[in-house]
Each structure stands twice: as C-alpha cells, then as structure tokens.
C-alpha cells in the first residue's frame, strides 16, 4: 500500500513538472486570433531585430507584421496559484504564482483589413519585445493593469 501511495505521489510530481514549466522563457506561442495561415498554439520565437517587420518564426514558416501597419499593442498577464500542484504535491506550491504573459498585436493586413494576433511570451522576452515594438511602431503598449506594467517595465 505504501509503495502504491509513493508511486502515485511520484506520478503527480512528474506530471506536475510540465504544468509549472509552461512555455520556455525565450519562446513565444501564437495563441490565436484572426491570422488564418497560423494554427492556434503554434510555438516559435519572436524577433524585432528586422527594421521593417515584427517576425514570428515557427516550424512551418514565418509570420511578418510590418511595424507601420501595427495600430494597437496590448499586454496582459494571467496569474494563478499552483492549486493543482499544491493539492497533489505540496502545500508550499500555493505560495508561488504561475504567470502567463500575453501580447496582442492589432494591425492592418495587405487588404487593409483589421487583424489581431495574440501571442504568449516567455518571461525573458517580454520586456525587450514590448520596448522594441513601442519604439519601432511608434505605438504605446496598453497595459491591462499596473501589475502588468510593473512586470513588463519594472516601473
């Protein structure tokens, strides 16, 4: 019986790792939006090093959004207690928060139709991506709340 309980606990722990690991800290994911050529939940990397367009590189190709066509930038986050892990593994997990970071880019496509793309950003790319986008597009990022602003800018 003890063996059974301990193997169950190990299983919960192992299953818990992906839950707390989330998206890689340098990665990005296209969560969804109106971009028909991209499948929802496509993982890749984002880049603002190009002078003309924001790029999302993924396994199947590349999505480029010209900076001059961007008309809105939003950033928000979702924070939640690690309840599942808290119950399954240790109550100590309840003291830590799992955060997900979302950036929404609104832009006009080649046919002048409004489009929106929602990306989840890894925690290490939030600040550089948002500040680069602000400077390259000339648009201000709209923050969901003060906590988001603090996370993204440190202010």
């Amino acid at each position: 019986m003890k063996k059974c309980i301990s193997s169950l606990a190990v299983c919960f722990f192992v299953l818990g790792i992906p839950a707390w690991a989330g998206l890689g800290s340098h990665k990005a994911m296209y969560v969804g939006g109106t971009v028909s050529e991209l499948k929802e939940n496509t993982e890749g990397t984002v880049s603002t090093t190009d002078d003309h367009a924001f790029a999302f590189d993924h396994k199947g190709g590349k999505l480029a959004i010209p900076y001059q066509r961007v008309n809105s930038l939003e950033y928000g986050q979702k924070a939640g207690r690690r309840v599942g892990l808290g119950i399954a593994v240790s109550p100590l997990f309840l003291f830590s928060k799992k955060r997900r970071h979302y950036m929404t880019i609104g832009y006009l496509d080649d046919n002048q139709k409004q489009q929106a793309a929602v990306f989840e950003l890894g925690k290490d790319v939030i600040s550089p991506v948002l500040s680069s986008l602000e400077s390259k597009t000339g648009k201000k990022v709209e923050y969901q709340d003060d906590e988001s602003r603090k996370t993204a800018t440190g202010k």
């Binding site: 939006g33 928000g76 309840v83 399954a88 929404t104 609104g106 409004q114 489009q115 969901q144």
Partner: protein, 155 residues
C-alpha cells in the same frame, strides 16, 4: 477498508479537474438570449476565424453571426470560491477562484431586428475570442468592470 478509502480519494482526485472545470477550457456554451434556434445551455465551439461570420458550432448545428451586423460586444465574469471542492476534497481549494466568462453579442438579424446572444467562454479562449471579435467587427468590447477588463485582456 483502507484500500477502498485510498481508491475513493484517487477517484476524487481524477474527477477533480472535471468538477472544477465544468465548461471545457476551449469550449463555448450558448447560455441564452433571443436566438430561438439554439437551446439554452447548448455546448459547442466558437470561432472568429471565418472572415465574414462569428461561428458557434454545437451538436444540433451551426449558428453564424455576420460581423457587419454586430453592434454590441460585452464581456463580464462571475467569480466565486471553490466551496464544493473545499468541502469535498481539501480546504486548500479555497485559495483559488472559479471564474465563468460571459460574452454578449448584440446584432441585427436578417429582418433588422435587434438580437442578443450570451455565450459562456472557456477560460483559454477568452482573450483570443475578444481580440478577434474586436478586429473583425471594428467594435470595442465593453467590459462589465475593471476586473473583467483585467481578466479579458489577461486571459
């Protein structure tokens, strides 16, 4: 006896996500409104991928709302503590909140009569659905309150 107690708790644990998730995180439910063709409580999936219509697919068929007929978008949420889970499984569930996300779409039907449809959205599709609908319809989402704005933009 011990075995059956252990088995009972394992079953409860496995059932737990279903208990607290209720509507699937990627699903949509037609809660109610003026649309006679859909039964209240019909569950399905919604999509704003189509360029002309917001589409709700459910077991009995499909319901489409042309974007150019949408004249109002509202988002609100209902939050509550997980009392049931806390009583049934562990008091630790009190640390987390259960949230339901509601989207109201106001639109004119083929006879130019005003209609309204209230959908409950699964938590993983809130942000994407709202961003896509704003882009497609050109209408701004009206948030019920600041918390809803936070949740809608951050979720």
């Amino acid at each position: 006896m011990k075995r059956s107690i252990a088995a009972f708790f394992i079953v409860l644990f496995l059932m737990e996500p279903a208990l607290w998730a209720r509507l699937g995180s990627e699903k949509t439910m037609y809660v109610g409104g003026t649309v006679n063709s859909i039964k209240e409580g019909s569950e399905g999936t919604s999509s704003a991928k189509d360029e002309k219509n917001f589409v709700f697919k459910y077991e009995g068929g499909q319901f489409s709302i042309p974007y150019d007929r949408v004249n109002d978008l509202e988002y609100g949420q209902k939050a509550g503590r997980r009392l049931g889970l806390a009583i049934a499984i562990t008091w630790m569930a009190l640390f987390s909140k259960k949230r339901k996300h509601f989207l109201t779409v106001g639109f004119k039907d083929d006879n130019d009569k005003q209609q309204a449809a209230v959908f409950e959205l699964g938590k993983n599709i809130v942000r994407v659905t709202l961003a896509s609908l704003e882009a497609r319809t050109g209408k701004k989402i009206e948030f019920e309150d600041e918390e809803a704005r936070k949740s809608g933009r951050g979720n």
